[in-house]
Every structure is written in C-alpha cells, then in structure tokens.
C-alpha cells in the first residue's frame, strides 16, 4: 500500500460522523442515567422516549458511518507506535463500531421484549424485533447496561489516548480529527 493513498487528515464527513455521534452518546448516557433514577411515571416515559429516538438516530448514523468507513481510508497511525499500541488502537476502534450497533440494537430489542414499540420522535414507529418476553427483557437490560459501562471505559481510554498523543507524543492524532484546525506534521 503506497503511503500517499492515506489522507493526512480525517475528512469533513468522517469528522462529522465522529463528533455528532460522540455528542449523541453523551446525550444517551445523560438520558439513560436520569431515567434510571426516576420512579415509573410520565417523566420516565418521556425521558426514555427521547433516549430511544436518539438511540435509533445513532443506529442509522452507525450504518452510514460504517459504509463510509469501508470505502474511505482513514489517515494512517503515526510512525513510532509499537505493535502493541497499534493493536490496542485497532481493537478499540473495532469495539467502538461493534458497540455503536450493539447498544441501539439491544435497546430496541429491550423495548420490543417489553412490548413498548420504539417511535422515532413521534414521526414513525419501528417494528418490534422480538415478541413480548419478560425474561428476555431482563437479560437484554442487563446486557445493555453492562455494555454501557464497557462503552464508558472505552471512551475514557479513547480520550486519554488522544490526549496522550497530543501532549506526550506531540503528534497529529488529535488535531486531524478536529474541525477548524490544521494538522502540521509534528513528528
């Protein structure tokens, strides 16, 4: 693979996907945790309705993002990274993609198992993925929760790694994903 085929920076589209989905995930954690603390009632219903609409938005964006990623090469990892670092970076990114699908899908299945169909901002209703099943609901809720902690840990690792690259390694790993900046080769 000749080196010049790698773009120097993430494209505007890739940056758009990254930051919009990142903002949605922060929103999802906020709504999910707030809903968890509420007693059953209208406010919980409203909070979870928003959580589901945003979650289905993430799922739709994840499909588009994956397609985009499969036909557009991202910039290359900076030189000087060890094999272990490269492997860790790759594994983190793959796991992010897995969770971008698994989180909304388990949420959607949870709603289906509870017989609470998922609406997208009141505009249309998604079909139920599975039938009413209380045991499946409990299992899916536990999975959705565990995966949310995994996602939280992964995001923390991701942010720390980006900061480490920027301030410690002084490379362009962070800036090439930032809009309105220029990536100068810092290494």
């Amino acid at each position: 693979m000749p080196n010049q085929k790698f773009p120097p920076r993430y494209s505007a589209v890739a940056q758009g996907f990254h930051w919009i989905i990142a903002a949605l995930i922060v929103t999802q954690f906020t709504l999910g945790w707030m809903a968890d603390d509420l007693p059953a009632g209208l406010h919980k219903l409203a909070m979870l309705a928003r959580h589901k609409s945003f979650g289905m938005t993430v799922l739709m964006l994840a499909v588009l993002r994956l397609l985009w990623r499969l036909v557009n090469r991202p910039p290359e990892l900076p030189g000087g990274m060890s094999k272990v670092e490269r492997l860790l970076a790759k594994a983190t990114h793959i796991l992010f993609y897995v969770l971008l699908f698994a989180m909304p899908l388990t949420g959607w299945m949870m709603s289906s198992a509870k017989n609470y169909s998922v609406s997208w901002f009141g505009l249309f209703t998604w079909p139920n993925l599975i039938g009413k099943n209380e045991q499946a609901f409990d299992l899916l809720r536990a999975t959705h929760r565990s995966m949310s902690w995994l996602l939280f840990a992964l995001a923390t690792l991701h942010i720390l790694a980006a900061l480490k690259h920027h301030f410690w390694n002084k490379d362009d790993v962070l800036t090439r994903m930032l809009p309105f900046t220029k990536s100068e080769k810092r290494t």
């Binding site: 059953a40 219903l45 409203a46 309705a49 169909s117 009141g122 209703t125 009413k132």
Partner: protein, 188 residues
C-alpha cells in the same frame, strides 16, 4: 272445520310474525371467545390492551332496532396491556383509579342501520364520567348465535382518564381506539 283450522293457523302465523317484528332475540357474550380491545398511543408508538373480564347482554334483531340494545359491563381491573408495569400504572389513581371506579358501563340508547352495518349511540360510564359514545358495528347471525363486532373512538380526557402529569397529551395521546368482537349465545 277445515276453514277454522286454516284461520287459526293463519292467525297464529300472523301473530308470530308480529311478535318477531318488534322483539329482538336475547343473547349474552361468550366470555371465552369474545374480545374487547383498545389501542392508545404512548411516546409516539401505538400500544394495545384488552379487558379480560366483561359481560355483555344483547337484545338484537336487524328488523327490530327500536327494541334492540347492547349493554356491556367492564371490569377495569382486568386490563392487560401486555406489560405488568404499564398495567399497574393504568390501574393507579391517576389513570383508571380502579380502587374507586372498578367498572365501566356501556349501554346503547338508539341503534340505526348504516351502509356498512349499524351505528349505535350509547352512554359510556368510565372513570365515573358518563358521556355519549357512538359505535359502528356489524351483526352476523350464525349457527347457535351471532357475532357482533365493531369499533369506536373516544378521547380519554373526556372521561378524566389521566390526572396530574397524565393530563398531558404530549407523551400519551388523548385519542383511544376501541374494537370489539362479541360471540353471542342465545340467553337461556
């Protein structure tokens, strides 16, 4: 002698026909086979619920509508929306308040023929509030009884179903669709 018999038979036939013209057959709904369902909108998505316990007493004949009526008593506690958490909320004091208003009652006042079947105006007492609700239905006589099926629409807030937070229609719609299918057996 022969003439008397013919006359008597004729008189009997005429009076039988006259009786048939202004009396309606009496039925009760078979609880096992009959179904009473509602569809509401929650957070933008439809959900369905049924009432497992209700009794229906029906006097009906298509050619004796003035003498026909439908009377349904519904046990509100028997509501089932296929989720026990939602059922608990629905039974609670802010929605059905089954502790104070355990039954709903529908009784028709007038029934008229329509192009598609029949239309009835009846009074529905739900959550302690009585209001007229029209229903459209079809009546199909069959072996050993009849089937009466139809639908209605109502606004839950007309009946005060939804107090406090639940008065808002932002997350739970006001309009509720009702559909029913009664399997009628002759009253013994």
């Amino acid at each position: 002698m022969n003439k008397t018999i013919v006359a008597a038979a004729g008189a009997l036939f005429i009076s039988a026909a006259a009786v048939a013209a202004d009396t309606a057959a009496s039925y009760t709904a078979d609880p096992q086979q009959s179904r009473l369902e509602f569809t509401g909108v929650q957070a933008g998505a439809e959900f369905k619920g049924v009432f497992h316990k209700f009794t229906a007493s029906v006097e009906f004949a298509p050619d004796a509508l003035a003498a026909s009526h439908i009377d349904v008593q519904i046990d509100m506690n028997s509501v089932d929306s296929m989720d026990k958490d939602r059922d608990t909320t629905i039974r609670g004091k802010d929605i059905f308040d089954v502790a104070h208003m355990p039954t709903a009652h529908y009784v028709t006042k007038t029934i008229t023929k329509t192009a598609a079947g029949f239309n009835a105006i009846g009074s529905l007492t739900l959550h302690g509030v009585t209001k007229d609700v029209p229903i459209d239905f079809q009546f199909n006589p069959g072996a050993g009884g009849a089937k009466l099926s139809g639908s209605a629409k109502l606004n839950r807030l007309d009946f005060g179903v939804g107090q406090g937070d639940w008065k808002s229609t932002e997350w739970v719609g006001d309009a509720v669709k009702i559909s029913f299918s009664l399997v009628l057996k002759p009253k013994s």
